[in-house]
Symmetry: C2
Subunit: 287 residues, 2 copies
């Protein structure tokens, strides 16, 4: 099956899609990205992702590669060309190509790359059975609110999780509080039935799925407390789950060696997951 990537104005066969070795994305991790899920050929939370892309670009004093309508049009076109009904579109913007120098250069053209991948989201066992997570120290930089491609620490954490037979690693700050997963936000239903997820700040990425789920939960009359919690609080919780554009709402049934609740996805988690899946399939309206 021929697949295309979009690179700087051209739809290129995926295998031939390349960038210059002096692209600042390759030499300095000087770039940002977004991953948008697609269901039924439709992008989920598109606005939220483009909003965040613009925030990331702003935070790094980077120019937007294209206007919002043109960007959106190209995303739709690539999805159509690659006939992606269910899957993801990945979008990366870097500062561009320049002779190697740490200082941000001016007057260069940003690099824009997009790729797609087909993923059969709804048949993933982890959505129904839940997953194990481990906890690890958060060794990342102080600006995790920027969705930058400087993801080496996240990759190390995810690899460690995988080595421990876990789906995700929850990162823990110097005060023993969970920040977020290496590619997801973390949620718990506490012993006293509070649905908690960490407050926004430079320590975490503002998840688009997190935003949507907060909105959906509140519409359903469920209070969401945005507050930090410790590993101990998490281990004693009733339910736990992670959210991200590609894991949707994935229940967590084990944290390190501690089984969560009865070891199966909790009932609130299941309800929220169903609401979110309905929303992402276009079966549910939200504000």
């Amino acid at each position: 099956l021929a697949r295309y990537a979009y690179v700087d104005g051209r739809y290129t066969p995926h295998d031939a899609a390349s960038v210059h070795v002096e692209d600042r994305g390759f030499q300095f991790a000087d770039g940002v990205y977004e991953v948008v899920s697609i269901i039924g050929g439709r992008m989920i939370d598109m606005q939220g992702h483009i909003d965040r892309l613009e925030r990331s670009l702003d935070a790094l004093d980077m120019a937007a590669p294209l206007s919002r309508p043109v960007l959106t049009m190209i995303m739709r076109e690539l999805i159509a060309r690659n006939r992606v009904d269910e899957g993801i579109i990945y979008l990366q913007v870097t500062r561009g190509v320049a002779p190697r120098d740490h200082k941000f250069p001016t007057g260069i053209k940003p690099t824009l790359v997009m790729t797609t991948k087909r993923v059969d989201f709804r048949n993933q066992k982890r959505l129904s059975e839940g997953v194990k997570v481990i906890t690890i120290p958060d060794i990342r930089w102080a600006r995790c609110d920027i969705k930058a491609i400087s993801l080496l620490a996240n990759c190390m954490g995810k690899t460690q999780a995988s080595g421990a037979g876990a789906y995700e690693a929850w990162q823990v700050d110097a005060e023993g509080r969970i920040t977020e997963g290496t590619s997801s936000n973390v949620w718990i239903l506490t012993r006293d039935n509070k649905l908690k997820t960490r407050m926004l700040g430079p320590e975490i990425l503002r998840g688009v799925t997190r935003d949507s789920l907060i909105r959906i939960a509140r519409e359903e009359g469920i209070e969401v407390v945005e507050e930090a919690f410790t590993v101990e609080e998490a281990r004693e919780c009733r339910e736990a789950f992670v959210t991200s554009a590609t894991s949707f709402l994935t229940p967590v049934v084990q944290i390190d060696d501690t089984v969560v609740g009865n070891g199966v996805p909790g009932s609130l988690s299941c309800r929220l997951q169903r609401w979110y899946l309905d929303y992402s399939s276009g079966l549910r309206e939200t504000a």
Copy 2:
């Protein structure tokens, strides 16, 4: 002038040198690098740079792209092809190309890229006149001992320095102690005449030039104290300088708004610089 880059087994015209958009160096900053200076066509501290490259690869569980002798041979060949008498060779190894997934993939071939650049090191005014630096919070990750390409924070710091009319930004840890510059190690001669540079640890990169200068200083009977120091201690110092493969020993004459000493490079700094330049020109033997 035609310049070549080396990319994965081939000498390619520089302008055409590219890597795939799913190279993990481009998507995850999953790679390491070295910059080696060249004087008189000869690489300075080659052994030290290759040793460190191997340590960086080990720390990230990455395979070496080539054996040490072959790597060295290719570096020499590229320098010869590009007729670099004075300048740098830049070498980058990434984990390779794989479908995007945070977890380290196995069984893929590392990507190896090399480029060169001519630089007229010895006519740079900053070596004789000194430079201004600013101090900024160190916002980087907890593994700065790995020479990884996840350099976005360093780029932000260098850009901030440039905006303030400074050559470098010294990064300061939570305890108010200087870690290192965004692309250099920091040294001071304290009020009580101690030559200090921060001790090794995960907070700083073990500079190859730092190593060489420690050796040279000790050969000259000058004691080097490897110890952390605060911004206040630095502002009250007699002399200050930075070291790196490309800045050699660059004297610092101003820290934020504070003039260092008499505002000109200090006498110990000048002697150390001369010894280091002699060493790097092959005019001086060291152990």
